[in-house]
């Protein structure tokens, strides 16, 4: 495949960026849930 470096970087990079965003949202969701559970527990 010609220009394989650009093509592979683009495809893998897109996968990495979308995955990183999904992981970031998941982490924030878990953190918010934990904080909510902690706040309920401290009452």
């Amino acid at each position: 495949m010609e220009h394989a470096g650009y093509v592979v970087t683009g495809w893998i990079g897109t996968g990495v960026v979308l995955s990183a965003y999904a992981v970031w949202v998941e982490r924030r969701t878990r953190r918010a849930r934990r904080a909510r559970a902690g706040a309920d527990g401290s009452r």
């Binding site: 093509v7 949202v25 969701t29």
Partner: protein, 257 residues
């Protein structure tokens, strides 16, 4: 702020997630193996199957943000859910615009010989990226939820003016960037066919699914964080009351609201 709006059903996110990842996997097979290399650009053109859907979904994201913002500003439909929808979609729009720019640079280097050139399409797209980065920054600077939603809605509607400018830039100005592959001069007249067209159309579907997945997930997170802030505020007020301390008539929201 009125109208709390419900969080999406919990099974929606995992189901959409599985469908999105599957659709993106099929897109990789179609774009990297099934579709033939372009007669002129060779294999570098395989970046089109990501670049064009990412750009299209960036438009869709900002259109949803503009719609949510308009519905929030209109008194009859004003509800917190429209502001949340606008915020969630704008973040995805920035993500897709960033991908569009990066993929365009990677595609431009082998085809044009440069990563970047001061071309109308490229510059207006970069402006779009920074306009909505500014929108997201604005949302973090205002603590009062009503003021934040109003100001952000106005900013989103102003920023949206750049979307048609980006789209028509290749027709309005002499541009190095090619015209639309599917809609040249605004007419439905695909410039590709066969497996290439199938891969590109599948790319639109896969990215649309991914956008829906991330939008529902992100919206749910906004609902969760807002609920947590309100909960913590209620607790703080309750504690002050218990301690006999005076409670301000207008309580300021905490950080991160």
């Amino acid at each position: 702020m009125t109208g709390t709006g419900a969080a999406p059903r919990p099974w929606v996110v995992p189901v959409l997630g599985v469908l999105s990842v599957g659709a993106l996997g099929v897109l990789a097979v179609l774009g990297l193996w099934v579709a033939p290399p372009d007669a002129v650009q060779g294999d570098a053109q395989r970046l089109m199957y990501l670049h064009v859907p990412a750009a299209s979904l960036a438009y869709v994201s900002f259109a949803v943000t503009a719609l949510g913002s308009a519905l929030y500003l209109w008194r009859r439909t004003r509800a917190a859910r429209w502001d949340r929808l606008a915020a969630a979609s704008a973040e995805l729009g920035v993500l897709f615009t960033g991908l569009t720019l990066a993929l365009g640079m990677l595609w431009g280097r082998p085809v044009w010989g440069v990563y970047w050139t001061w071309d109308a399409r490229l510059v207006t797209t970069a402006v779009l990226f920074f306009l909505y980065l500014g929108y997201l920054a604005l949302r973090r600077t205002v603590l009062d939820p009503d003021a934040r939603a109003r100001r952000a809605a106005v900013a989103a509607l102003i920023a949206f003016v750049d979307v048609p400018i980006v789209h028509y830039s290749v027709e309005w100005w002499r541009s190095l960037h090619q015209e639309s592959t599917l809609l040249p001069q605004g007419r439905l007249d695909p410039q590709i066919g066969g497996d290439m067209l199938v891969a590109l159309l599948w790319g639109f579907a896969a990215f649309a699914l991914t956008y829906s997945w991330l939008l529902v997930w992100r919206y749910r997170l906004v609902v969760l964080e807002e609920g947590l802030d309100e909960h913590l505020l209620d607790q703080a007020i309750e504690e002050r009351r218990r301690d006999g301390a005076p409670v301000p008539a207008v309580a300021l929201p905490g950080p991160g609201t």
